[in-house]
């Protein structure tokens, strides 16, 4: 996937936005109907699936807690059931035994779904690259990863 610059990303995000955005100085004014903007924000808020296997899970919890608080971005609740989620944050090492479970969880999520691999272990084994007999060589060997 190619990397967009900031303006491109903004335009793409606003492609299906129901209403007009007028830029006034450093802020924006939006002209739209209340119902349509509520529906739009429902459709565009990502609900992550908590699949924390190791150390990264704590950092992910810290992201959701009081200091960093990802609910500011509409990541309202972390769900534990794949049916209700649309984003997997793979936070932690994936070993061979867990890979089957991860694959099943990925398949159970409804389209459209996104995957974020968080941390060295999930991206490419990290510290468990050499001399280990049970770790999967990067989570993208199990399912496609959109962001690492």
């Amino acid at each position: 996937m190619e990397i967009h610059n900031r303006d491109q990303t903004k335009r793409e995000l606003l492609k299906d936005f129901p209403g007009e955005v007028h830029e006034v100085g450093s802020t924006n004014i939006v002209v739209t109907a209340m119902d349509s903007i509520i529906n739009w924000s429902h459709a565009n808020s990502l609900w992550p699936l908590t699949i924390g296997t190791s150390c990264y899970a704590i950092e992910m919890m810290a992201t959701g807690a009081s200091r960093h608080d990802w609910e500011r971005f509409g990541t309202e609740v972390a769900r534990s059931a794949p049916r209700q989620a649309d984003l997997i944050v793979i936070a932690g090492t994936i070993v061979n035994k867990m890979a089957l479970v991860l694959k099943r969880l990925y398949d159970q999520i409804a389209d459209s779904k996104y995957v974020i691999a968080m941390g060295a272990c999930a991206i490419s084994r990290g510290p468990f690259y050499y001399n280990t007999y049970s770790v999967v060589n990067g989570a993208d060997h199990v399912n496609p990863v959109q962001t690492a």
């Binding site: 996937m1 190619e2 990397i3 009081s66 200091r67 960093h68 608080d69 500011r72 974020i116 691999a117 060295a120 991206i123 490419s124 084994r125 990290g126 510290p127 468990f128 690259y129 050499y130 990067g138 993208d140 990863v145 959109q146 962001t147 690492a148």
Partner: protein, 159 residues
């Protein structure tokens, strides 16, 4: 009769403990200064990490595009998981002698655990940890970096 009194008193004690807890929450609603949530990314300009923060390994370059890495591979040996690969080449010096310099200082950020052993092992203080923390990319191959800048040279006097 006793059971009814017990039942009703338990309701009241439950309500009491409930309000006790709610009072703590209420305190923070009325004291917004004690809220600690950071407004990232709006505060990106003012946000400063601690000096010691281990963000990623960087090879320091001077203004005249010179670095201090001699290519001794001490960091490559010290790294527990093969994050650093140093590829050396031989170049001919003006006086006809052949000299070993680094060709590529390859750094796999995707494997780095920021354990700091490479920094400690470096005899010439060529590498250090930067405070950069925004590393998210769309593909893991972009996390493999070459740290020495193009056409950079070894600093004079470092051996």
């Amino acid at each position: 009769m006793k059971a009814i009194v017990k039942y009703i008193s338990s309701i009241f004690s439950a309500l009491k403990t409930l309000f006790k807890g709610m009072a703590v929450t209420g305190h923070y609603i009325s004291h917004p200064k004690e809220i600690i949530t950071q407004q990232y990314p709006e505060n990106r300009e003012t946000l400063k990490m601690f000096d010691m923060f281990r963000g990623e390994v960087v090879l320091t370059h001077s203004e005249s595009n010179e670095h201090r890495c001699t290519g001794c591979s001490a960091c490559e040996v010290a790294c527990p998981n093969g994050t650093i690969e140093i590829i050396n080449k031989r170049i001919e010096m003006p006086d006809g002698k052949k000299k070993k310099v680094i060709d590529k200082f390859v750094y796999h950020l995707s494997m780095c655990t920021f354990c700091n052993l490479c920094i400690l092992s470096c005899p010439t203080d060529a590498i250090k940890m930067s405070q950069d923390f925004e590393h998210a990319v769309f593909d893991r191959s972009q996390l493999t970096k070459v740290l020495n800048k193009p056409a950079s040279k070894l600093m004079e006097g470092v051996r």
